[in-house]
């Protein structure tokens, strides 16, 4: 399926190139930025290349970086990483029927995933039907995760390892937006295949929703026949910012097989809140997200697997220098900082009544340069403290990364 997909993209590129006789002026980019745009719009709000008046849009982005990390004085040295190359292919079959897809190659070809491939049918702005492989819209990062949009090379820990980021599933649902003069309201609601028991039986030795990403069977069938519900409501004031509330929940375990009951149904619930704004005076962008997870665990399970988790991040991005440089008329430098915290196991030990830890805290100052808005060159420095679930002295990590990310 993946090969066919790539062939379609290559064929499209080649055929359009032939028709266009490699005249790049026939391609046009369609970036959109206005105060009504929200995280929900990120799927389509990308700089696609479009040939003339054809309904086909092609695009993508790539990210690569160096990585030099040290944990408690021990380093594995310098590495070069091709984090991901993502290809977009979308098209309009009709003014009310659209198709959009996103295929991602991570770490070279170590992982190849169709992250998004859905057909949208518009009844009106406030009521659209979507079916296919969708990214469950829990939190904001899941909706709006393209690398070139961020000043940080690493994705947030809470988004990637806690929620998890870009967790996509087969399913269907509805979404829409409603506009007033100052306010924009958006919602999404999907029923999809969902999680499985690997979230509490994995090599991370902790409750890990992201462990379920390894189960590729979820694109073929549900692990237990019970759909996962994911819903999000977001509201945006054009001058203040956007606030989103999202929920994802369902039964994660295989509780029956061939009509026989194997175990009680066990549920997981995830709540997330996200916010973003741009301070008018200073043009400072603030993006924040926090999530809470509740998982019903078997009582006899290993203590390392927590039933409650929470975590999130705050990004502050400040443009500091906007001048034409070496031919880039809108070149802008940014100084940014990300604060992150994740508590993988909220609770107390039965044996000692002491607090359980398994916590990660990270601070990541960053410098970045955008010669153009869709390309970013980033220098990140991370300091991270990670405590095991007992609360022993933390592992101290430091990472320096330099890289670039760009739409193409």
């Amino acid at each position: 399926m993946v090969k066919q997909y790539i062939l379609v993209i290559l064929f499209s590129l080649i055929s359009h190139s032939v028709f266009a006789q490699i005249d790049s002026t026939l391609f046009k980019r369609k970036p959109k930025a206005d105060s009504s745009k929200m995280n929900i719009d990120a799927v389509y709000n990308r700089p696609f290349l479009q040939v003339g008046r054809t309904p086909l849009g092609i695009g993508g982005y790539a990210e690569l970086n160096t990585n030099y990390g040290v944990i408690d004085g021990v380093s594995e040295g310098l590495s070069f990483q091709m984090r991901r190359m993502t290809l977009f292919l979308g098209g309009s079959l009709h003014s009310k029927i659209k198709f959009m897809s996103e295929i991602e190659f991570e770490d070279g070809t170590k992982e190849i995933n169709i992250e998004f491939a859905a057909l949208d049918f518009q009844f009106d702005n406030f009521f659209n039907f979507r079916g296919g492989i969708v990214v469950n819209p829990i939190g904001a990062f899941n909706q709006n995760h393209d690398g070139p949009k961020w000043e940080f090379i690493d994705r947030p820990i809470s988004a990637t390892q806690l929620l998890p980021a870009t967790f996509s599933n087969v399913g269907m649902g509805i979404y829409g937006k409603k506009y007033t003069k100052q306010w924009v309201l958006a919602y999404e609601a999907y029923l999809t295949n969902g999680f499985d028991e690997t979230i509490i039986d994995n090599e991370f030795s902790r409750t890990s929703l992201s462990a379920a990403k390894a189960n590729k069977d979820r694109f073929e069938e549900s692990s237990n026949g019970k759909p996962l519900f994911t819903g999000k409501v977001a509201i945006r004031h054009r001058k203040i910012g956007e606030l989103g509330l999202s929920y994802m929940g369902g039964i994660y375990n295989k509780f029956q097989d061939d009509g026989f009951v194997l175990a009680p149904k066990r549920a997981l619930n995830v709540f997330a809140i996200d916010f973003n704004t741009v301070l008018k005076k200073t043009k400072t962008t603030i993006t924040a997200e926090w999530a809470w997870i509740n998982v019903d665990l078997p009582s006899s399970y290993a203590v390392q697997y927590g039933s409650k988790q929470n975590g999130g991040f705050v990004d502050v991005v400040q443009p500091v220098f906007k001048k034409p440089i070496i031919g880039f008329s809108n070149s802008t430098f940014y100084v940014s900082c990300r604060l992150e915290q994740v508590d993988w196991n909220t609770g107390k030990f039965i044996e000692t009544s002491a607090k359980m830890y398994d916590e990660t805290f990270s601070i990541m100052p960053a410098l970045s340069w955008r010669p153009i808005s869709s390309t970013v060159i980033r220098l990140n420095y991370r300091r991270q403290k990670q405590r095991d679930f007992l609360g022993n002295p933390p592992a101290n990590a430091g990472v320096i990364q330099f890289g670039l990310s760009s739409y193409f």
């Binding site: 040290v70 380093s75 991370f204 030795s205 006899s300 390392q304 022993n392 002295p393």
Partner: protein
């Protein structure tokens, strides 16, 4: 030169400066290693290249997390070695284990009911074990792993030389080996001493394991439910199964345990610590917690004929009624416990969540409490400790915390 040219030059200068600064300061802004004597992990000296490679593989085996798809359980206590021995140190009460079913040298009477170890956790779809009715039991906190290769390399003759079953020197301390039957996969060393077909155990709270292979294979099987060619019987079904861990992985882990360094004493030159050691000896703590032992011959150069300071005699001692859980292993009495090595004691809290949990089941919340809970053969020593002034007690404890 116009403004644009100036900007371009400034930009290039800043870029070059940033790269230069980062190259020069890279190591300074990244976290440094803790002092060697502040951590338990690390290797003994003089490992060969091949041994180092095996050590690293063993380290990987030690941190490997098992899941139901890689063989965990179905009944288990924990899912990895490191979950019970964080940082290679002592365990925490939340990861302790329970053994049951043996009250004398006649052996475990509950082997057909899940003995000797309780697997109180289970993978999804299975019910964990409970202690059978009528079985006595004892809770064990996981011991530290460091320096085990030195303890393994001590000769049986040296251990026997320290024992005094009849208390011929009238110091109130006897000390006897725990004579145990060897599992089929355990081959005695060439210089081993046997008695009625039994050999000297030296690992575990009751010295119920002969060597580190014995200890490791039992831990895979009893702690994690992982069967191997050495021990193929599944703890749930009781049936022999195909190995879930390779012999090579087990042998890598055994070498890892053999070659973890001995904990290093801190502040050796400090006068308080020197005075504390004098009080330690004067209180006769050192009669069982012997300050120095010597290894015999070993194929691993770093363990061959080395003197080390583990503060143990590897013998079983009567510790009194308060510590008698009415459970035992081998030929040991239920009130007898192997002298716990004291090295690494000062770093125990760093693997136990910031607070110490001492004695076999972690009941002592401080070194002082652990000492005062000593009974049996240790009564005289405990009374001598109790008779010390507050300042002297602090010196003695300071010495113990330096280990």
């Amino acid at each position: 030169m116009n403004t644009r040219d100036k900007m371009n030059i400034l930009f290039r200068a800043l870029l070059i400066s940033a790269i230069g600064f980062l190259s020069a300061s890279c190591e300074k802004i990244l976290p440094s290693s803790p002092e060697e004597n502040e951590v338990l992990d690390g290797t003994i000296d003089a490992l060969s290249t091949a041994e180092t490679a095996k050590f690293l593989r063993g380290d990987g085996a030690f941190t490997r997390v098992f899941t139901s798809s890689t063989g965990l359980g179905p009944l288990f206590v924990s899912n990895s070695c490191i979950s019970c021995h964080a940082g290679d140190g002592k365990g925490h009460p939340s990861t302790s284990l329970v053994r049951f079913g043996q009250i004398n040298e006649m052996g475990n009477q509950f082997m057909n009911q899940g003995g000797p170890q309780l697997q109180h956790r289970a993978i999804v779809g299975f019910m964990p074990e409970t202690i059978p009715s009528g079985a006595t039991h004892s809770t064990f906190i996981a011991p530290a792993n460091t320096g085990l290769g030195f303890l393994e390399a001590v000769s049986d003759a040296d251990i026997l030389a320290l024992s005094d079953p009849e208390d011929k020197n009238n110091d109130g301390i006897s000390g006897v080996p725990n004579w145990i039957e060897l599992a089929d996969f355990v081959k005695p060393k060439s210089n081993s001493i046997s008695k009625n077909g039994k050999y000297i155990g030296r690992f575990g709270r009751k010295a119920g394991a002969y060597n580190l292979l014995n200890q490791t294979v039992n831990a895979y099987n009893q702690d994690m439910g992982i069967v191997s060619s050495f021990s193929a019987k599944d703890t749930f079904s009781g049936e022999n199964q195909e190995p879930e861990v390779s012999d090579n992985e087990i042998m890598d882990l055994v070498l890892y345990l053999q070659t973890l360094k001995a904990p290093l004493q801190r502040n050796v030159a400090n006068q308080d610590i020197k005075d504390g050691k004098v009080l330690f000896v004067k209180s006769q703590c050192s009669s069982c917690h012997i300050p120095q032992m010597t290894t015999g011959s070993s194929s691993i150069a770093g363990l061959n004929n080395k003197t080390f300071a583990a503060y143990t005699d590897l013998l079983m001692h009567d510790m009194g009624k308060a510590l008698d859980d009415n459970y035992t292993e081998g030929t040991a009495k239920t009130y007898e416990w192997r002298t716990t090595p004291l090295w690494g004691l000062g770093l125990s809290k760093d693997s136990q969540g910031g607070k110490v949990h001492l004695l076999h089941d972690g009941r002592a919340k401080s070194i002082d409490e652990a000492i005062t809970l000593h009974g049996g053969e240790a009564v005289n020593s405990r009374e001598k400790y109790s008779a010390l002034s507050t300042n002297e007690k602090q010196l003695l404890i300071k010495f113990l915390e330096s280990l």
